[in-house]
């Protein structure tokens, strides 16, 4: 057999090696908030273990579509008078690594391009006069640098095998591999593994065990199991084996399935259709642990590989915080976190083609359209110069009338930001009505490109309950469970409203802030209780909203109307409405009116 191989490193460093064994098959990795050096060390290790000459590219933030997909090579096109295409970053990373910083901010076009590349191993270019297909068998290094509740988009997470946070051990192991002797050894081993990979076999029993394990932990995606299977093969290959063994499958389940777990396995489920056994002991304080597997299988005797073995392996690899999180989520219902805010389009804001005009006063030249406009006239211009110009050496004669500038759409609907007071006793009622109004608005106005967002404030802070969305299905799910009670941090609410409003505006949407509160601020900006300071801070916040000319509506829900509420509404230059018994219907009507008025004013 093969010579003695070194032990495999811990999970963090191991994934880099596994990706080098099967870069495109495993798709890549989400690195959870890596430091700069960590990401670089990981990337270098992976790149070093890839075949010689494999590319390693980095996707710059805010990349334009023509650089991602490829487009017209303008310089060469102009110089030669022939349409010359240029490969985009995706095609350039074919067979290698593509690092995606701030992966959670990736916009729609970017992530669909990456997803398509992972699915098909190619990228189809259909842009600006070019129709080509390039190989793009990439391995993605997605750097998750999100704050708070953003997430790397599920469509991408689903397609890459690993999600890891690099810890001290992983860094140490990665560093150790840099020692020349060790480095050479690992490279050799990965090279051998890559060669061996196509011949590694998997017993059907392991396929079944992986499927069952995925099911037990609530991993619904079939893709995840497929990735786990590939991972098991890669582990086996790296260990110099020709068939996947129990420990390979275990390792794969830990690496691929554990981070995707959405629930804990239902303890024993030997037979669903047998009548329930004797009732379990009532006073068990802790939730039942996953049952240990039957101890019938002797160690060293590979028997029918039950899913239990893998299940245990996965359970042991669940991240520490995850267990608590899973339990909490099971109670709250629905999944936590949100998809990173998608700017409408990374390509060009909101493009609306081009029109003729001169590129000045902020207007941007649309080079390609300019060329197109000039193109038909080249023959004519070459043979009959209108003016006696010095003999032009340029291959393309562009004149003033050819210039085209880019057009953008100004606004795309309204983002209604509900800022709801979830403090005190009437919180439940207010939140309930806001929820009803949101559902109504979404149900009625989804034809228009309006979005709705809900921020709740209580205790010492605010919480974005529903990030801007126009998806009714999603809103329903999120709104199902809303917290309530505590103090009234009005100043924070103002800040949060402003933040959301400006974000909406950046996305090309007109914001409308709707406050739903009784106006009794009692928590100051620095979090200390006390009415005077709290009111002062709140008024300052309201003034900032007015300063940014954010349209607003202040719905006072206090029984007799509140002087402070009125002052706040004035300070934010908003409309004040007293609605002690805000019903969803009345609220919906109000907001619709306010939307019309806000759009009419034009911001």
């Amino acid at each position: 057999m093969s010579p003695v191989l070194p032990d495999l490193p811990g999970n963090g460093a191991l994934t880099a090696l596994l990706l080098a064994v099967d870069p495109h098959g495993l798709g890549g990795v989400v690195l959870d908030h890596p430091h700069h050096e960590q990401a670089r060390a990981y990337q270098q290790r992976l790149h070093a273990a890839l075949p010689e000459g494999a590319p390693s590219r980095r996707l710059p933030a805010g990349i334009t579509a023509d650089r991602l997909y490829g487009g017209v090579d303008l310089a060469t096109t102009l110089a030669t008078g022939r349409l010359v295409a240029e490969r985009g970053v995706l095609a350039a990373a074919d067979g290698g690594v593509l690092v995606v910083p701030m992966a959670e901010r990736l916009a729609v076009a970017g992530r669909t391009a990456l997803a398509a590349a992972l699915d098909t191993g190619s990228i189809q270019v259909a842009r600006e006069g070019i129709a080509e297909t390039h190989g793009a068998r990439v391995c993605l290094l997605l750097l998750d640098e999100s704050v708070e509740d953003e997430l790397v988009h599920p469509a991408l997470r689903d397609r890459v095998a690993f999600v890891i946070a690099l810890d001290g051990r992983a860094m140490e192991e990665l560093r150790d591999m840099d020692a020349p002797e060790v480095d050479r050894q690992w490279r050799q081993q990965v090279r051998d593994a890559r060669r061996r990979l196509p011949t590694v076999t998997v017993d059907d029993g392991w396929v079944r065990a992986l499927c069952e394990t995925a099911d037990a932990f609530g991993v619904d995606s079939v893709r995840a199991v497929l990735l786990a299977l590939r991972c098991a093969r890669a582990v086996a290959a790296l260990r110099g084996r020709l068939a996947v063994s129990e420990s390979d499958a275990e390792r794969a389940a830990q690496l691929v399935l554990a981070p995707r777990a959405t629930r804990l396995p239902v303890p024993p489920e030997e037979a669903v259709d047998t009548p329930p056994p004797e009732p379990p002991p009532q006073n068990e304080a802790t939730p039942p642990e996953p049952e240990p597997p039957d101890e019938s299988a002797d160690p060293g005797e590979p028997k029918a590989h039950g899913g239990e073995l893998l299940r245990e392996a996965v359970a042991s690899a669940l991240p520490a915080g995850l267990l608590a999180q899973l339990l909490a989520r099971a109670q709250a219902g629905g999944s936590a976190g949100r998809v990173g805010e998608e700017t409408p389009n990374l390509l060009r804001g909101r493009p609306r083609g081009a029109r003729s005009g001169l590129p000045r006063g902020g207007a941007r030249l649309h080079l390609l359209e300019t060329l197109r406009a000039a193109a038909p006239w080249q023959r004519v211009r070459a043979s009959s110069p209108a003016k006696p110009l010095p003999p032009s050496r340029a291959r393309v004669r562009v004149r003033r009338e050819d210039f085209r500038i880019r057009r953008f759409i100004e606004k795309t609907g309204t983002t209604v930001i509900f800022v709801v007071d979830a403090s005190g006793s009437s919180a439940i009622h207010r939140l309930g009505e806001a929820k009803g109004a949101i559902e109504r608005l979404l149900a009625e106005s989804y034809a228009r490109r309006d979005r709705v967002c809900l921020v709740a404030f209580r205790g010492s802070g605010t919480e974005v309950i529903l990030p801007p969305t126009r998806a009714l299905a999603r809103a329903r799910r999120v709104l199902a469970a809303l917290p309530g009670g505590g103090g009234t941090p009005m100043a924070h609410a103002m800040d949060a409203a402003l933040e959301q409003a400006l974000a909406a505006r950046r996305g090309g949407s007109a914001p409308l802030v709707v406050f739903l509160t009784d106006g009794r601020a009692n928590i100051a900006r620095d979090g200390t209780p006390g009415r005077p300071r709290a009111e002062q801070d709140a008024l300052a916040g309201a003034a900032r909203l007015a300063q940014q000319r954010v349209a607003s509506l202040f719905v006072d829900t206090s029984p007799r109307g509140d002087a402070m509420a009125r002052r706040l509404a004035e300070a934010m230059h908003g409309r004040y409405v007293r609605l002690p018994d805000a019903s969803a219907e009345a609220l919906g009507g109000l907001v619709r009116t306010a939307m019309v008025l806000a759009n009419g004013e034009g911001g």
């Binding site: 098959g25 991602l68 997909y69 017209v72 008078g81 022939r82 349409l83 729609v108 076009a109 669909t112 391009a113 191993g121 190619s122 189809q124 259909a126 842009r127 600006e128 006069g129 129709a131 599920p154 689903d158 196509p198 998997v202 059907d204 396929v207 079944r208 992986l210 499927c211 995925a214 619904d220 995606s221 079939v222 893709r223 995840a224 497929l226 299977l229 389009n345 390509l347 493009p351 609306r352 390609l368 060329l371 197109r372 406009a373 193109a375 038909p376 006239w377 080249q378 023959r379 004519v380 109504r440 149900a443 989804y446 034809a447 490109r449 126009r470 998806a471 009714l472 299905a473 999603r474």
Partner: protein, 347 residues
């Protein structure tokens, strides 16, 4: 070319497969929208269809893939060809399945001035776009709910008129563009505009298979395909061939398919009960049940056919009801149960 996963090797997902087969048999049904979870093989199924469909006759040398029989409209060139000579040379070509990537620009979708020829020869030539390539085939848009509005408008326009009219930078072209629009998307990530949704004849929901045995089969087959595509495709080619012949036969049978009056009445009653807007729902319901009957070798459309296609033909045309939380599929099934009595519902 990249090997394509065989259609008949797709495990489960019966509704999606059936919907795709029905529009392949009768393209006038008008497209399929596939809603569903991630990793359920939406794209796989659509691409698999490409490898399955019988080849079609096209006018030799036509850039728009016109039909030699002249069924439907012809492009200007073919019009001239038809006038100048009695016989038109034709060749066999695979039915196109064209991907519309989200990053596509308008000029590539509708076509534009051929920049290269314009620059080198000064000639104003038209370079056909994706709409031309998709003529008489399928246009597939993954994550169609995220497609930019101005591209959606272009698709709607072409889908409604069956032709593509281009007026840009001095080129003025009109060519036929009849295609079956197949979209996929996850409704949680953005709603589809109602106008676009309505264009889709059929809508299906796909879910991750919930039976473990089924999932195991999915993984095994996919893995086998990844490891040795050629062998896998050879293994399934017979089954695919069978489906292909069924499609061909069904197309032939479609013409003579009889739809009894009582079935027509039932279809109308169902649409009325559900309150679907417009006639499109009823039309789709009938066309798809005809296609189903043809596919299964029957001569007459029965209630049973109607029942089996009702959910996919109607579920996306129901008015949204804030007060009714039941999914649209449930609502269709409920209406059927009310009208038909106690017949068991579609699984």
């Amino acid at each position: 070319m990249r090997p394509v996963y065989p259609f008949s090797a797709i495990v489960g997902q019966d509704e999606m497969k059936l919907a795709l087969l029905l529009v392949a048999i009768d393209p006038s049904i008008g497209g399929v929208m596939v809603f569903g979870d991630r990793g359920t093989g939406k794209s796989t199924a659509v691409r698999a269809l490409a490898g399955l469909l019988p080849q079609m006759k096209v006018v030799s040398g036509c850039r728009y893939g016109c039909d030699p029989q002249g069924n439907g409209s012809r492009c200007d060139e073919c019009q001239r060809r038809a006038l100048s000579g009695p016989t038109i040379k034709s060749i066999l070509a695979p039915v196109p399945v064209v991907d519309l990537p989200l990053g596509a620009t308008e000029d590539r979708v509708v076509g534009a001035l051929d920049l290269e020829r314009a620059l080198t020869t000064g000639e104003k030539a038209f370079e056909p776009g994706l709409l031309a390539r998709a003529h008489r085939g399928f246009l597939y848009v993954d994550e169609v709910n995220l497609l930019e509005d101005h591209l959606v408008d272009l698709l709607l326009d072409a889908a409604a008129t069956g032709e593509n009219v281009v007026e840009r930078e001095g080129v003025s072209v009109r060519h036929p563009s009849r295609f079956v629009l197949v979209g996929s998307g996850n409704p949680e990530e953005g709603e589809l505009r109602p106008q676009l949704l309505d264009r889709f004849g059929l809508a299906v929901d796909v879910k991750t298979p919930d039976r473990i045995s089924q999932r195991i089969e999915v993984i095994k087959r996919r893995d086998a395909f990844d490891r040795d595509p050629t062998a896998f495709m050879t293994h399934w080619s017979k089954a695919d061939g069978k489906v292909r012949r069924s499609i061909e036969k069904a197309r032939g049978r479609l013409e003579a398919m009889a739809v009894p009056d009582d079935v027509l009445e039932r279809a109308a009653a169902l649409c009325a009960t559900l309150g679907t807007d417009g006639l499109r729902g009823e039309l789709t319901l009938l066309r798809s049940s005809r296609a189903l009957a043809a596919y299964e070798g029957d001569d007459v459309v029965t209630d049973e056919h109607l029942r089996r296609v009702a959910a996919m033909a109607l579920r996306h045309r129901l008015r949204r009801n804030v007060l009714d939380d039941a999914g649209s599929t449930t609502r269709v099934e409920r209406a059927i149960a009310e009208l038909w009595g106690d017949v068991a519902c579609v699984a």
